[in-house]
């Protein structure tokens, strides 16, 4: 069944993300990506994942693949409180704009980024950010790691059941850790 946007009115247009139902589906894109960036929004704070939350997950994913993290909406505070100092802070709208510049080196100076993995930004705001990337930053492969379907990404979970989503998230960490 074709995935549909989580918020029912958010119909975008002819292009739509592919349903991400198994971690392995990302294998090829992860292999091709030279400089990924992990974007984590404020809704990730306090969102349960395993024994921790989605901030812990971001740290795990970052460490698994040496992927720099940029936090939006003040989520940076949660990273700092967990003792993780490698994350940077930017506004979601600033990222949507900066990512359109193919020469932008990124908040850590490790770019230009050719892939973003993103979650934790309020659904509709992430929707608009990804729309900017899809239309004007075509050099970037966007992967939405939130539970709900984001049609502007290349890959997105199709409004997945919570338990299954967490399992696949963990598999993605393993995939990234295993040298992609």
């Amino acid at each position: 069944m074709r995935a549909v946007p989580w918020q029912t009115g958010e119909i975008c247009g002819p292009d739509s993300a592919k349903s991400l139902t198994k971690a392995d589906m990302l294998k090829r894109d992860l292999k091709l990506a030279k400089k990924p960036l992990l974007i984590v929004g404020h809704d990730a704070v306090g969102m349960q994942h395993g024994k921790g939350d989605m901030i812990d997950y971001a740290i795990a994913l970052s460490e698994a693949g040496n992927i720099p993290i940029v936090a939006t909406g003040g989520a940076i505070k949660a990273f700092i409180e967990k003792g993780f100092v490698g994350a940077k802070s930017r506004g979601a709208m600033e990222l949507a704009y900066y990512l359109q510049d193919p020469d932008w080196k990124g908040p850590h100076g490790k770019g230009p980024h050719d892939m973003i993995m993103i979650y934790g930004i309020t659904y509709y705001m992430q929707w608009t950010l990804l729309s900017a990337v899809m239309n004007f930053a075509t050099q970037i492969t966007p992967i939405a790691l939130g539970r709900y379907f984001q049609p502007h990404a290349k890959w997105s979970f199709p409004n997945m059941k919570e338990k299954q989503w967490h399992e696949i998230l963990d598999e993605i960490v393993e995939l990234v850790k295993g040298g992609k």
Partner: protein, 780 residues
């Protein structure tokens, strides 16, 4: 300024000769008693200020986030524009997005302008064209926006009408640019967005100016009355008339009738949205029920015996909703007739009879003289019939219905704020109504959850039932709209604002599409008021700011002064009062810097952009009117922050702090090109959270002209809010340091270390301008 003159003589003997069939037409007679010289751009057309717009749009480039990938505006489409394809007309995605932004700004301006036109025509009919316009004491520079844009100072209703003629022409031009095969460049679409935003400011200024002058509103009064607000403030022992919208005229006819017939003990009038502010400006006995998104909850509660709608932001299903609670509706505006029968020519008694008996669900009565009498008589007659009935389901009934929930999650998927509605319904199954009660606080009252529910549950009503005790406690005192800022207040604060010693002027304006409840607006306003910023409010944001009580049971308006001064919180009034905020910034240029305003837009906008640390915040912006209001501030170079829903306006105007070349100004003293800090960094920005909005607000108050002391004060606030919200010392402080004097003394060590790390070099403090012609000697 006089209106058009027309002389006709069949046979005239004059000193110049003998004329037969003489006809003379004069388009306009310019105000020859005004000694201020006319500036370079009186009554600018759509491209007159293009060069100024391009300066802003070069620094703050549009970042488009297409909300829809297709264009379906003509029959050559639909056209797929995704990934920068072009449509059949040749337009690309950026052009299309800019076109839609322009469409929104045009719609917004049309609403304000038509509102202004209605007011002016109505008031000319009531008072005559020579009725004087008066903003209040201490406002020698009245109508600063109109002066700046048109080069005119409107002194009578007739003058106001002439200015609206100009606005209407401009709107026709910018609207026509959207047609297929007209404008093709995103940059020029955006310039027209700015143009119509500027026109919008003029339109609104005229609307508020004429109503302040003639309808007994507070006139530039820092001590405008405190009025009652909140659902709990409505006295249900009386017949209640609910007025919704923005246009005071029909609502005024109701309060006038009640006053004339001395019926205050039997009937009361409550307003929602901007009509609420304007009826309380006219009659402080009227009440502000709540912001626009409270419509459904109050109608459904059944407390209103009659609903009178005027224009803008009215729920378009108001008749159907009112019918559910047996309340008739009177529509009064030709823009929002709502399908009701036109009863203009019928007698009051026959209309009252038909409405009270339920023969008709409502009536369209554009004759405002009749509305007051009909509304009052209907409300009084229908109250005893209606009040015997209960309109909400009981908790027991809700519990029973909730048991049948299909658990499909459609309610949640339909909710703009992704609220856990299904979870709350499931809790209600077992008699736990607390989760439904929690939803009430954050609900924007759109009722999309109900439309989506396959069981057709009235979910919004369930939330209100669960929160009935909270509704009763909604009792607040809010300061009604004061109108303009006095010149003397500007004299007092102009210098500290321009030097940066009052760290900023923050305006909370706009709608109530909040991501997490209206309390956020109060909290943001309080955060900066306590830091001695000047806080200005208007519209629904002004209502929400006043709907929070402190530990002493006081609202922000009770505990803070209403003057335009540091640490004060002043409500200017309704949507159309927003130009008083822009006007304050404009008057700073006139009064403190002695700049001429008359037809001198670019110079004054350049002054404001570089010197006046003002930021607009519309945390719940949803409408096209909010878009046009924002556009008016953008052209003045004033940054605007919106809440996360504002990202759906589909384009931001963002600067690149990391690109030094974008942050150059002329030093007006020498003509040199000088590097400045990236300030203000952005012109239009959607923040994800309150924390982010607060950090960005403090940062966007920084201006190139700040003195060392001013910059140091502004940076102290920025750093403090950043550390509190984000948990670390901001890493870009060094960019804002020009000389040692800019460094906040208590943070010197940290900042010096950061400066060293970034190889900081001392910078010149220029007399900043983006306009070469502002360089002394004309920049030659």
């Amino acid at each position: 300024m006089k209106k058009k003159a027309y002389i006709k003589a069949d046979d005239a003997e004059t000193s110049l000769g003998h004329f037969k069939g003489l006809e003379v037409r004069i388009g306009e007679i310019i105000d020859d008693e005004w000694d201020e010289p006319m500036g370079p751009t009186p009554k600018p057309g759509p491209t007159t200020l293009r060069s100024w717009d391009h300066k802003l749009l070069t620094r703050y480039q549009p970042s488009y986030m297409p909300y829809c990938q297709v264009c379906c505006l003509c029959t050559m489409g639909k056209c797929d524009l995704s990934r920068d394809k072009r449509g059949a007309c040749g337009l690309d995605m950026k052009g299309q997005q800019a076109r839609i932004v322009l469409a929104a700004a045009n719609i917004g301006n049309a609403a304000h302008l038509a509102h202004a036109r209605h007011l002016v025509d109505h008031l000319i009919e009531e008072f005559g064209p020579r009725e004087q316009l008066k903003v209040g004491p201490g406002t020698e520079i009245h109508a600063p926006v109109s002066r700046l844009v048109t080069g005119m100072r409107p002194r009578t209703l007739e003058d106001a009408s002439i200015i609206l003629d100009y606005c209407e022409t401009q709107l026709a031009h910018t609207l026509s640019a959207i047609h297929t095969g007209q404008e093709g460049s995103w940059l020029d679409f955006e310039s027209k967005v700015f143009h119509v935003g500027m026109i919008d400011q003029v339109s609104m200024e005229i609307a508020d100016l004429v109503q302040i002058s003639t309808l007994g509103f507070p006139q530039a009064d820092p001590e405008a009355p405190l009025v009652q607000s909140g659902i709990g403030m409505m006295d249900t022992n009386k017949a209640i008339i609910l007025t919704i919208g923005h246009n005071i005229v029909p609502a005024a006819s109701i309060t006038d009738y009640i006053t004339e017939k001395r019926l205050h003990e039997e009937v009361e009038v409550g307003g929602m949205c901007c009509t609420a502010w304007d009826i309380t400006r006219r009659d402080p006995k009227a009440k502000v029920v709540g912001p626009i998104s409270w419509q459904l909850r109050f109608i459904r509660a059944g407390s209103a015996d009659l609903i009178v709608v005027d224009e803008q932001c009215v729920r378009t299903d108001v008749v159907q909703e009112a019918q559910k609670v047996g309340a008739p509706v009177i529509s009064t505006s030709d823009k929002a007739v709502m399908g009701l029968p036109d009863r203009s020519d019928d007698s009051v008694d026959s209309i009252v009879e038909d409405l009270v008996s339920g023969k008709i669900p409502g009536a369209y009565i554009p004759d405002h003289h009749k509305v007051g009498e009909v509304a009052t008589k209907v409300a009084l007659a229908i109250k005893p019939i209606r009040r015997k009935k209960k309109y909400f389901p009981s908790k027991k009934q809700i519990q029973k219905m909730a048991a049948e929930c299909k658990k499909c999650m459609e309610c949640v998927r339909a909710c703009p704020n992704d609220q856990p509605i299904q979870e709350a319904v499931l809790a209600a199954q077992v008699g736990n109504f607390e989760p439904l009660r929690d939803l009430y606080q954050n609900c924007i009252g759109c009722a999309r959850c109900e439309s989506a529910c396959p069981n057709e549950y009235d979910l919004h009503s369930w939330m209100v039932v669960a929160a009935q005790e909270d509704c009763k406690k909604e009792t607040y005192m809010v300061r009604t709209g004061r109108g303009a800022i006095q010149d003397i207040e500007i004299r007092r604060v102009g210098q500290p604002i321009v030097f940066g010693e009052i760290p900023g002027v923050i305006a909370h304006v706009g709608c109530a599409n909040y991501p997490g409840g209206g309390k956020d607006v109060h909290d943001m306003a309080e955060e900066f008021a306590k830091r001695r910023f000047i806080i200005v409010t208007s519209g629904c944001a002004a209502i929400s700011a006043g709907h929070v009580l402190d530990e002493n049971g006081q609202t922000i308006y009770e505990r803070r002064d209403g003057a335009f001064d540091a640490g004060c919180v002043l409500n200017v009034g309704s949507c159309v009062s927003n130009p008083h905020i822009a006007g304050a910034a404009i008057k700073i240029a006139a009064i403190f810097a002695k700049r001429n305003l008359r037809g001198n837009y670019a110079e004054i906008a350049d002054y404001i952009h570089n010197r006046v640390g003002a930021v607009g915040i519309s945390w719940g912006a949803f409408s096209q009117k909010a878009a046009s209001i924002a556009a008016g501030f953008w052209r003045l170079g004033v940054p605007v922050i919106v809440g996360p829903h504002g990202s759906k306006y589909r384009r931001m105007l963002l600067g690149r702090a990391d690109q030094d070349r974008d942050w150059m100004v002329y030093d007006a003293r020498t003509g040199d090109r000088v590097q400045i800090a990236p300030a203000p960094e952005h012109l239009f920005y959607a923040a994800e959270t309150v924390a982010e909005a607060n950090v960005m607000t403090a940062k966007l108050c920084i201006r190139p002209n700040d003195t060392g002391k001013g910059r140091s004060i502004k940076l102290s606030h920025y750093i403090d809010i950043h550390e509190t919200s984000y948990g670390f010392f901001p890493d870009d402080v060094w960019r804002y340091i020009r000389r040692d004097t800019d460094i906040p003394i208590t943070l010197k060590d940290k900042i010096l270390a950061q400066m060293k790390e970034n190889k900081w070099k001392e910078k010149q403090i220029p007399d900043p301008t983006l306009l070469k012609e502002q360089v002394y000697g004309g920049g030659v």
